[in-house]
């Protein structure tokens, strides 16, 4: 199965705290693909909030979203858009 990847910088003010993490996880859960969030060499499951929050991504952190599965490409697009849009924060 092809793995799709996208690098992106967390741009919202407080980084991946509660609210953005909720959005990220809820969006990820809309897809069947296996989705990982990678920071440096740490990889966590994007469908679990404590995974996402404990990855500790303050503003300016470069992360990679990796998805594998039938709807992986769409998942990457949706998640990258969410991050790029600063989770709708401003």
């Amino acid at each position: 199965m092809v793995v799709f990847e996208q690098e992106i910088v967390v741009g919202n003010l407080c980084g991946l705290h509660g609210r953005p993490s909720v959005k990220l996880v809820e969006t990820a859960r809309c897809f069947r693909a296996d989705i990982k969030l990678v920071r440096d060499d740490v990889e966590v499951d994007c469908k679990y909030i404590l995974d996402v929050m404990s990855l500790a991504c303050p503003k300016g952190t470069k992360v990679k979203i990796k998805a594998c599965g039938e709807d992986a490409e769409a998942a990457i697009a949706a998640l990258s858009e969410l991050v790029r849009d600063n989770f709708g924060e401003e």
């Binding site: 980084g15 991946l16 509660g18 909030i49 404990s54």
Partner: protein, 613 residues
């Protein structure tokens, strides 16, 4: 009542009102079982099911709470969303089940292990803000612990009589639940006057005292306590005399505050036609609506520090613009006076953490802004861009010299030219003012007045600098005297200099909201008083019950006093005579000779001092 001696403890007044009743301590962490329980193989399945059942109920509970959020608090709705996800997160949920099955131990013990593992992971996070999210995980686990221990899902639903609640801290949703329950009031160990807990309490009108650590520690369930949300006082096991006194106090306060609230929206004008603008000091946009409902005629001081503190980076222009635009539109058409950054450099993310030997006399407020033009101009740009969305006034803190005023105006002109070049709209006529809080500025107030549109006297710092008193230093705190003749003369000098130049002179220090000071300030001719919202209805009522001419005479006679003691003596006679409801026998205020005056506005001091020192 109990046999032990009565204990009187002061916390921070968070929401006004007086209540008397039995206290109930709603503690956290008392549900945790100290030991584990070993299970038979046959019991493991049942234990897992028990855990799952409890989690199901917690989930229902959270969903129910989420639905109750009123729109103005929907920031909390997303907190609940994150709690819902955490509840089912594999780190807590799956992990707990796995531990129960592997170790054959009870659910409490297993969840405790899982929680500690999560704590361990979070403790390694560098970013302090993200690291502290572990408290959310703990809150979620706490709910599960509580139900596992067989406690009722809803601690407030279990309350079957009217009680005063004591707790370490509340989650905001806890306070929302109190509304429908028999909660007379509450006090907590943690929190300050601007904590969300305090703001929600005020919104709901539940008398509350926060930051009363000692009171919470010493509380005995079921004992009668007196909670005085006006002065921030808690009395544990009050004496018969104290109870009688407070029942009477409560009755008078109720009567008086009904009347005060009813008339909060009347104009702050004396019967003989002297008008004073009464405005609010606030720090967060959420407080603005509250301020207006208390009868504020505008925001006389919007502290802009919040968005600079506790972050890893300085706020960007976009964020500041949003905040300023929100406050301006929320309050429009009333004026909002936004003060530029007023903190010491050591508090900034990029600041010097080495510290200064004497920070009160160091690089702070406007000095810091002028030292870091990029940061300063970012704030000015955000302010000017927001200026078209309402009635903005910009105020600069801690001005000590003409050079600083000119430098500030230079940057302002520079930013205006940039914005004009980029065709970004702004109000070219935005009024600019300075805080008068350094004695040197008082001396040259006449020349400074020619350069600005308004003055606002910051009495907290002015008194501190004029009398060389650090109010946080208990050896000298008693010498911090708002009624020191030197202070009064300085105020007079500033008012006269401002009026001579035809500009408005206001006051935004604690003294402005102090009911004992009000007649003197009226007599001195201040145009605007800006204070803690809670003090507004009271101050407005006093203004409506004042006679301008009498206040002027009072001010004149005050200036014949050689010491603050003489001023107190004079006021001790004047206030009860002119304001019997406030200062008469059994009135809601008393004039205290030692340690200064205490009013509803008094509690801001802790925060201001923290900022100053």
């Amino acid at each position: 009542m109990s046999s032990r001696e009565s204990i009187s403890i002061f916390g921070v007044s968070a929401s006004p009102g007086i209540v008397i009743g039995p206290v109930l301590f709603l503690g956290r962490r008392r549900f945790r079982r100290p030991d584990h329980r070993c299970l038979d193989v046959s019991e493991v399945g049942v234990e897992v099911e028990r855990f799952q059942g409890v989690v199901d109920r917690v989930e229902e509970q959270l969903r129910e709470i989420r639905q109750q959020f009123i729109s103005s608090l929907d920031g909390y709705a997303s907190i609940i969303d994150s709690h819902l996800l955490m509840l089912r997160d594999r780190m807590l949920y799956d992990r707990t089940i796995a531990i129960i099955e592997q170790e054959k131990k009870d659910a409490e013990w297993a969840l405790d292990i899982a929680l500690n593992e999560a704590r361990e992971i979070f403790s390694q996070i560098d970013d302090p803000y993200l690291r502290e999210r572990v408290h959310d995980v703990e809150q979620v686990a706490e709910r599960v612990f509580r139900l596992l221990a067989g406690r009722t899902e809803d601690k407030f639903a279990a309350i079957d009589k009217k009680v005063i609640i004591a707790a370490r801290d509340f989650a905001p949703e806890d306070i929302l639940r109190m509304r429908n329950d028999q909660v007379l009031g509450f006090f907590t160990e943690k929190g300050g006057e601007t904590s969300h807990t305090a703001i929600v309490a005020r919104t709901l009108g539940i008398p509350a005292v926060v930051g009363a650590e000692e009171a919470v520690r010493q509380v005995v369930d079921g004992e009668t306590v007196v909670l005085d949300g006006i002065s921030g006082r808690i009395i544990l096991s009050p004496s018969r005399e104290q109870l009688d006194q407070y029942y009477e106090h409560q009755r008078q306060y109720r009567q008086y505050s009904e009347q005060v609230a009813l008339y909060a929206h009347l104009s702050p004008e004396t019967p003989d036609g002297l008008k004073v603008r009464v405005e609010a000091n606030i720090e967060m946009v959420e407080e603005a609506i509250q301020a207006i409902s208390y009868g504020a005629g505008g925001i006389g001081l919007f502290r802009s520090e919040y968005h600079y503190l506790g972050r890893s980076k300085l706020p960007d222009e976009g964020l500041l613009f949003e905040v300023y635009r929100n406050i301006l539109t929320a309050i429009s058409p009333f004026a909002v006076t936004i003060r530029t950054l007023d903190i010491g450099g050591d508090k900034l993310p990029a600041g010097d953490k080495g510290g200064e030997a004497n920070p009160a006399l160091g690089l702070r407020a406007i000095r810091l802004s002028l030292r870091d033009p990029l940061m300063f101009k970012t704030q000015l740009r955000a302010l000017l861009r927001a200026s078209v969305y309402g009635n903005l006034r910009i105020m600069f803190p801690m001005i000590a010299s003409m050079g600083e005023v000119l430098a500030v105006k230079g940057y302002l002109a520079e930013v205006m030219a940039e914005l004009a070049g980029q065709k970004i709209p702004f109000n070219e006529q935005v009024p600019i003012g300075i805080m008068i809080e350094v004695p040197g500025a008082v001396s040259i107030a006449d020349v400074l007045a020619k350069e600005v549109d308004f003055f606002s006297i910051g009495t907290n710092d002015l008194i501190q600098y004029a009398l060389a008193i650090d109010r946080g230093n208990e050896n000298v705190a008693h010498m911090y005297e708002p009624f020191h003749p030197a202070v009064l003369r300085m105020i007079r000098q500033v008012v006269e200099a401002g009026h001579e130049a035809g500009i408005e002179v206001g006051m935004c220090g604690e003294m402005a909201g102090d009911m004992s000071c009000l007649p003197v300030l009226l007599g001195l001719g201040l145009d605007q008083l800006s204070m803690n919202s809670m003090a507004i209805p009271y101050v407005k009522r006093m203004i409506r019950h004042s006679i301008a001419e009498e206040a002027e005479q009072l001010a004149a006679s005050i200036f014949r006093c050689a010491s603050s003691r003489e001023v107190y003596d004079l006021l001790g006679e004047y206030l009860p005579r002119h304001y019997p409801d406030e200062f008469g026998p059994g009135g809601i205020r008393t004039l205290r000779k030692s340690g200064g005056l205490r009013t509803v506005a008094d509690n801001k001091q802790g925060m201001d001092r923290a900022r100053i020192l």
